[in-house]
Amino acid sequence: MKRGIPVRLEGLSKRFGRVEAVKRLDLEIGAGELVAFLGPSGCGKTTTLLMIAGIYRPTTGAVYFGDRRVDPLHPRDRDVGMVFQSYALYPHLTLFENIAFPLRLKKVPDAEVRARVQKTADLLGIGHILERKPAQVSGGQQQRAALARALVKEPQVLLLDEPLSNLDAQIRLSARAEIRRLQQELGVTAILVTHDQAEALAMADRVAVFSMGELQQYDTPEVLYHRPKNTFVAGFVGSPPMNLIEGTFTGDGFRSGELRIPIPGAPTGKGWLGVRPEHLALGEGGHPARVLVVEPLGREVLVVAEVAGVRLQVLLPEDRRPEPGGQVGVVFPERATLHFFDETGRRIGPE
């Protein structure tokens, strides 16, 4: 199969009436890379995907596949494959004819259609149920059939719109790994739209975080996690999400109401202090806090504690389980794992 090609979005925007769904988006995706578009619903990620597919025409801006400008082209001239959240299989056709559909439209000779459909279906482990209709197979198999239909014409770009969100949690994990394996094996450039940050972090080479039609940050999962550019990314990436405390930096510490945290070399001015739940600890000498909720997560325990009027989530090893309603001390970590954001939510300090 052929290698994927780079995809470049330049100043892409989309308006629906008065609503600006996507605002001047610039983004580059390398050949063979898997990029996730991550964000809450209505953030513009699916709109962007549909512009890349050619279903929506951009209001302004351009889409390039390699050096070829594709935004004026009809979807069929773009060489993309797409998997929809609903799978969008054709209910009146068998799985075989579903997968063969793109090839039939290209007028590929029958013998070749047979061979390619069988090969793609075998690759996805549905080669034995091709004569069935979509309604007669399981959700996981429908999802594979949709993926096979997207891959059978060997597209240069694979678009995945929430392909896993209709699957049971158990299959979802294996499907995640399988899509990633296939994508790397085939070397196809892939874009995955998802609202599930764990899925994005687990599957993607790079993640583009969207909010309100704007790109918030575009980087590797590690950078997104450890150096979020703003409070939105900080709060959206990671589960449980980062604690964000509104207050004032005083140069040598941080103040929020009664809560005072000494931080050598802190910035000054109003802003937000961010700290991930796993970086907080309970112990002697910490800030006195009252335990509100204790939620066992299996390997870990999530504790919600109130410190001087501020609610904090703390992630602890399973063996350290405080009593709800009890008094504990919350210990803040070293400066290196604290995140500083200014009044507008932008990150202060090392990028």
């Binding site: 549909l50 597919a53 279903i55 979807p75 494959g81 797409m82 054709y90």
Partner: protein
Amino acid sequence: MPLLPKNWPLWLLVLVLITLPIGVGLLWLFLTALFDQVHGLRPVGDFSPENWRFFTEGSVGGRPSIWVALKNSILFAAAVATLEVLIASMAAYAISRMKFPFRTPYLGMILVLHAFPAVSLLIAIYYILRVLGLFDTLIGVILVKASLELPLGIWLMKGFFDQLSWDMEMAALVDGASRWTVFWKVALPLVRPGILALGTFALLSAWGEFILPFTFIVSGKSWTLALYMQSFMREAFVDYGLMAAVGLFYAAPVLLLFLLGQRYLLNIYSGGVKG
């Protein structure tokens, strides 16, 4: 099975009473067609095939052969149904899926046209057909009937198309289909229940159509069965036996079609399009 209402014999009686006139009418039709002479509902003559002579005699009382009328009726109904299904599906798809100027006023206009009494248009249509040279032709009446039926057909099919998911059509576009291919290969097969319903409906309606052929067709070679039947009423002495036999013959295909198509007809009201 739902339980019967408490006083079901009473309800049954009421229903039977309401249905009785129709039943009596049908009974009269059968008896009159099968016997020499019938007084009221009491056969007085012998059981006789005499009333069915139109099958074998080429022409009864100077009328064209019944087979010509049958052929014309079939042609008329089939052409109207085909035209209506084809045009209504395409128009409904466009209305359901595309944005174009004056879409909303257009939709409203279709509804108004549907409510418009066709009879009031007869004279205007007469002139139009004369100008087009289609007066006294089957084609002319087919076009008129199909046009008058279209508004209902478009609304009906629009309802079916509205229920299709956009995803499926987007998928087909990405798979390499043109809008035209999407319509024929994806959308149309999925509204099959609607097409069958509308088709059956159109066939039944065209089969029973009387006023349009009666107004716009003069010569016997273009007569439909409805005109053939009506011709008995014009005579001084009406041969009811013959008329009843022709009536039964006329009704038979409709009964058959209804038995075969009622499942789809019911779809018009429930409007389900599950694949």
